[in-house]
Symmetry: C2
Subunit: 277 residues, 2 copies
Amino acid sequence: MRLCYMDGNFLPFDRAALPLSDHIILRGIGVFDLVRTYGRRPMMMTYHLERLLKSASALGIENKLGVEAMKSIVREGIGRMDGDGEVLVNFYITGGDNFVDGCRFPDPRYFVSFQDLVLPDKELYVKGVRLFPLDRARLMPSAKSIDYSAALAKNSVDPGALEVLYCPGGGITEAGHSSFFMIKDGKVVTAPDDVVLAGTTRSLLLQILTENEIDLELRVPSLEELSEAQEAFITGSVKEIMPVVQVGDITVGDGDPGEVTGRIRKLYRENIPRWLE
Amino acid sequence: MRLCYMDGNFLPFDRAALPLSDHIILRGIGVFDLVRTYGRRPMMMTYHLERLLKSASALGIENKLGVEAMKSIVREGIGRMDGDGEVLVNFYITGGDNFVDGCRFPDPRYFVSFQDLVLPDKELYVKGVRLFPLDRARLMPSAKSIDYSAALAKNSVDPGALEVLYCPGGGITEAGHSSFFMIKDGKVVTAPDDVVLAGTTRSLLLQILTENEIDLELRVPSLEELSEAQEAFITGSVKEIMPVVQVGDITVGDGDPGEVTGRIRKLYRENIPRWLE
């Protein structure tokens, strides 16, 4: 079942359409954010929707909808989904038809997709995953724009890799759909907020690590360092904490998911109830 | 007047729509290319449409339409436009609904926009333009994807700049909507094909420069060099050859459009008839 909210109405997703004149189609001017549920309760909804508004602002899209109104739409859509399974919500803001003053999109459109949540294969957590390093950075790291063309094109080069890993100039920033963490000499290392998307799972995790007195370094780790690291993992709302055992030719640690990653994953899962809304 | 071709039909552009399920909307998977007319004859149509197919391929979109069939659509659409003014054609290929094997979009959609050509203000050629330097590169320089979010967001930083200029690590690659050229010590310098979009106007110009024995260097010029250069210009299908007099804080030459740029622009215009189809 897939449901859509648009212009005040809920309708089957496959019956919803956008005019060609919208700049999300003509020039990729669109942003989105996703919310998943646990026990049908949305996780970190406020954080996700506030990030959505920041993304819109970074692209010059002038949002007209408040976070509380957005929350009502998310809650109502979840309620309309059949059964009692978990739901994945994707909330979009488009550039709309009008582009003025060379920088403003004053008439955005909104649509929201509601679908059954599909979790990653459990095997990925047991065996760990491979990432494909790319010597590039996202053009606007602060915005979650719809542009995932580079993130999705990686598989033609390395079909076995789960995601691309952006490594501009050899420094690891973030993965195509996830935040990236390296564990080296007992410290957890991840790129600072100003060069990556402020991942929600990442943000929770940083808080949990601090509360549990696990050493943290906010800096861009290099690919060279990674070959001497003990463990690595990626994070995301749906995948939570997933071990990384290979990046291109580099085997991380002994090539198996590590103990510290396992412990951090357990800590994260224990803390989830704190952020359900 | 704006016309659209879609699914075998021509219809008013504002009546055409795409289903939300298309990945051009959901994840920015879409490519396009444009063709303009001179005397109602399309310029470099074959080159543009072949580049369109390369762009599609780079994003994993499996094109089903041959270049000759595309040409027929372009010609018919131009014929259907009212009056005898020039026409701007935008030919799109979308990712479609299906994404398989983690890298393929096997069911693309096609749509084509036909509209009256609007030329840049003549004043821009007389006074020259300012560009806004950005320390980033496009993620997939070889593909003309729909993602122009960074190119369009520049004006909030420098509203007077015409376009963004991508300068990753201080090396000048290309502008947001144009190819970039610097003239220094009698030589024309521009970035090689492997780091920029293979611009059509750029490609013609390289041929014309060679035929006219004007010295050419295919390498990435630096922002530092630009401050010692005599002239600079950008090229594009609609703008043709447009002088650049400022890049951020750097004034190019004496701050006025240069003589060599003027001569190159004249050469380009004289050669246009060779590439009408």
